[in-house]
Amino acid sequence: MLRTKALRHTLFILLPVIAVAGLLPLAYSNQLLLFNFVVFLTLAQGVNILYGFTGYLPFGYVGFFGVGAYGFSLAVMHLHLPPLAALGAAALAAVLLGLVLTPLLRLSGAYFAIANLAASQAMFQVVSNPNLTDITKGPYGISLAGVFAPNLSYGVAVAILALTLGTVIYLRNSRFGLALLAVREDSVTAAMAGIDVVRTRTLAWQLSALVAGLIGGVFAWYVSVFYPETVFSPEFSIFAIVFALFGGVATITGPILGVVVLYGIYNAIGISTPQYFQLIYGALIMGLVLFLPNGVVSLFRRWGIDVP
């Protein structure tokens, strides 16, 4: 049962999304815009893995993204690794940061969110510190013009998106995902049912960190010139969280819906007048919390339509 469902989700959600993301650049010339869509689709699903399946809200999710970007860049600059190998360094950097921050999972609710936010800001302060200019170029930014390859890096980003979607489909349709949901709802009962609470949580945490680190590395590769403020901008965390919440977390389609609708609106009006977009999405968040705390997808559920 679970396996046939997973197959259906792969066929009808993962494949179409990847096909559209992979083929659209042939028909539409603004590749940077499409790339940003892929980045946010991945980040929103990364937030979904953590917040949807464990209930920990990562307000500093961008920390993993930024560390991934810097892991990639440092591997290219100092170790002269080829870009695909440097992505390994990006993943490693994010997972290491995840390991260092694992004790944060002892905190719950708002305390975790605040500590996570502080941790991402601390990473930004370290990376952009002028004292480390020899290693990270400090506040002066990074230039990787030597490995610039927009088409290849776009393809790799789509591959990472596929991997992420596959992970979420797995979580939706596996014992492991069910165990995570059980821990989210009531960790004591879940522990009594034989679930290793700490292990499942830590795994979800690291999966979510890995996803953000990889896409951060590809982001560094794709744009190839950036400042620490760019890759540690709190907007990445905020957007990813809002997109995921808007659609509905702990689902596969919710975050996709959120990114397509909200990031679509953002690109239509947000770039010319960012304040108005900020106003709209601020109001949207307040409305969501008060009237629709489980996202748009829950609306369909209420009407009796099952949405994966």
């Binding site: 809200l57 305390y111 500590a115 936010l117 601390a122 510190n129 004292n131 968040i285 008060l290 705390p293």
Partner: protein, 291 residues
Amino acid sequence: MLAYAILAGLIFGLYFSLVGLGLNLVFGVMRIVNLAHGDVLMLGAFAAFWLFKLFGLHPVLSIFAVFAVFVAVGWPLYYLVVPRLLRAKDPEMLSIIFFFGLSQVIVALASIAFGSSERSIPGRVLGSGPYQILGQSFPAAWVVTGGVSALAVAFVYLYLYRTRLGYVTRAVMVHREEALATGIDVHRVSAIAFGIGLALSGIAGVFAPFMLGSVTPAMGVDINITSFAVIVVGSLGNPLGTVLGGIAYGISLMFMQTYFSSWANLLPYLLLITILLVRPSGLLGRKVRSA
């Protein structure tokens, strides 16, 4: 050098106590995390700026106007939002997301109304010439701010520990349901505390141009982190612990700036994470947090 760092730390510590006080009062009474705290402070700063610029109103006088207006706005805002949040399954988490949305709305409206340029009030408005304290000289603006902050903290002490209203407010802090069962009008008490909490943030904002640098619509985010560091050090939900947290924060900030200036920006984050992990109940905390 050492004496200067300690004294300046004390002055800034008093100010940081005021910055964290409103946030902690709201958290203590209704377990709501006001993530828009920094933006309320920003509004207070803009109020002081415009009152000074348009009417030449002295900042120390404008705190009365700010206090009245912010209480008047906060009181009804409580009834509009908080009871609804408290009925939900996980009020703390929902409140953090809700107030994040509110913070975005405030920032957006402020940047539409005021633009994103940096505003400031000249420091000499609060008094001319440096003050001498124990052989060290400090800008007059710092000393006045420290004094007003101490007065505001004293006011909150009197409100909580010397009035009937404060007595019931503390009852609500200790146990909301039991307070309700004893016949206390919990919502009225909380609404007043919410209004006073916002007003305290607004008053802290009035002095932001002198203590935190220039005023912009986006200044709230950093203030939020600093305030969280201050109140977590002091212990969440204990408004007077905030004073201890503020002074600890102020002195360590001054030490960092004096001896390791290039890493001083890291301080609030590291302090916050360390305290949360090592002693989540804060320095004065008696019981472990229930969250």
